[in-house]
């Protein structure tokens, strides 16, 4: 047992990138399952931060420092925040006792995703990749910036237009409709009745 352990540590010191990769993979895969299978959906919203953090570690291993930071700033902070706020607005208490999975889709979903993985993996494995031995240059952030403002400036502009349109569209969709004040009050009263009924149900269950 002791010999095995020393052999394992020696191997890990010689293959530090492989070891770090497997540690990150062993973090990312269980967190991803936790996002899907946790019964309390608010908790799965926070587990999403773990997945994104592990993936940003993978980006660091692949020498993409700028993308690792952008991943943490956009996904782990921005998108997760939006998701959690949406969960709070759509009353997560309703999902507590319900089975999170649709029963019919449960087995067929597993079969479909296993088949998908097998197909992708076999095609990856049988391909001969044109690998390049040189590492990524140290000034890769400079390269990205130059690329975005010269050769890829048109897609860059389209991306900013897309973000603007998405921003305006999200505000239009999420905004409450304009109604006369009297109707608005009735609507609020009806909603309060509904929510109090719902709370009663929860207490009874």
């Amino acid at each position: 047992m002791g010999e095995n352990l020393t052999a394992l540590t020696a191997w890990a010191q010689n293959h530090s990138e492989t070891t770090a990769f497997y540690i990150l993979a062993f973090l990312a895969i269980p967190f991803a399952y936790g996002v899907l299978l946790d019964r309390r959906i608010i908790r799965s919203g926070f587990l999403l931060i773990g997945v994104f953090g592990a993936i940003s570690g993978v980006f660091l291993l692949l020498q993409a420092q700028f993308l690792a930071m952008a991943q943490i700033m956009i996904y782990a902070v921005g998108i997760t925040l939006v998701v959690v706020i949406a969960l709070m607005l759509t009353n997560p208490r309703l999902e507590h006792d319900v089975n999170p999975a649709i029963p019919v889709a449960k087995t067929s979903g597993i079969v479909v995703s296993i088949l998908l993985f097998v197909t992708i993996y076999l095609s990856l494995r049988s391909e001969i990749w044109p690998l390049s031995p040189s590492p990524v240059k140290a000034d890769n952030v400079l390269q990205i910036g130059t690329g975005l403002l010269t050769y890829y400036s048109l897609p860059f502009e389209f991306a900013s237009v897309l973000l603007l349109v998405a921003l305006i569209g999200a505000i239009m969709l999420a905004r409450a409709e304009h109604r006369p004040p009297s109707q608005m009050e009735e609507r609020l009263d009806a909603q309060e009745d509904l929510s109090s009924e719902r709370n009663d149900n929860v207490v009874q269950v």
């Binding site: 990138e17 492989t18 990769f21 062993f26 990312a28 895969i29 991803a32 399952y33 996002v35 899907l36 299978l37 999403l48 997945v51 993978v58 692949l62 993409a64 700028f66 993308l67 952008a70 991943q71 956009i74 996904y75 939006v82 998701v83 949406a86 607005l89 759509t90 309703l94 999902e95 089975n99 999975a101 649709i102 449960k106 067929s108 597993i110 296993i114 998908l116 992708i120 993996y121 494995r125 990749w129 044109p130 390049s132 990524v136 240059k137 390269q143 990205i144 690329g147 975005l148 991306a159 897309l162 973000l163 998405a166 921003l167 569209g169 999200a170 505000i171 969709l173 999420a174 509904l194």
Partner: protein
């Protein structure tokens, strides 16, 4: 609170760990040769054994999350341990993408479906960055493409969650099985 399903789950965990350790120590080859399969397919044979025993454990009533997580990790390790670094990263991306597809098909809550889509977009990003590192390290075009995917993902999250909020205002539910607004 020790029940039958816990016992079966533990048996499955022990079996999968043993298979992966045997493979990592190099004893898998002799076993596979003994059965009569070519040694080129040792990893595939081991992972097929893990998947089959996982299905059996599910039929006997094991815990679904334990079987899924341990089975995926075992299959992932045994399939990637002997491969190049590029194939390892691409396989991690494939695993995350398949998990995202599973969650998108199965989930009941619309917000959880959106989370699964974010997971799939992230898996695609890993692919692009891995290609930028190992195939095209001089121009790193993959990282540029990953930045555009990041933009599209942010726009998708904002619009998707706004649609979920609008549906919740009209229907008072976010259950995917009760959205029938577009049914004729």
């Amino acid at each position: 609170m020790w029940s039958r399903s816990n016992t079966i789950s533990m048996i499955f965990v022990a079996l999968a760990t043993t298979l992966v350790c045997l493979y990592a120590r190099g004893w898998g080859y002799t076993i596979v040769q003994h059965i009569g399969i070519s040694t080129d397919f040792t990893d595939i044979t081991i992972s097929a054994a893990i998947i089959l025993s996982g299905g059996l454990a599910m039929l006997c009533g094991a815990d679904l999350p334990v079987v899924l997580i341990i089975g995926t990790l075992g299959v992932f390790v045994s399939l990637t341990l002997a491969q190049d670094a590029l194939v390892r990263y691409l396989s991690l991306a494939a695993v995350l993408f398949s998990i995202g597809v599973y969650g998108m098909v199965v989930s009941r809550n619309a917000v959880r479906v959106l989370m699964s889509i974010e997971l799939m977009l992230n898996a695609v990003n890993i692919n692009l960055v891995a290609f930028a590192r190992y195939v095209d390290p001089n121009l790193i075009r993959g990282q540029l493409f990953a930045i555009f995917i990041l933009t599209v993902a942010a726009a998708e999250a904002a619009v998707g969650l706004a649609i979920v909020l609008a549906v919740y205002r009209n229907m008072s539910t976010v259950d995917m099985e009760r959205f029938n607004l577009l049914k004729w």
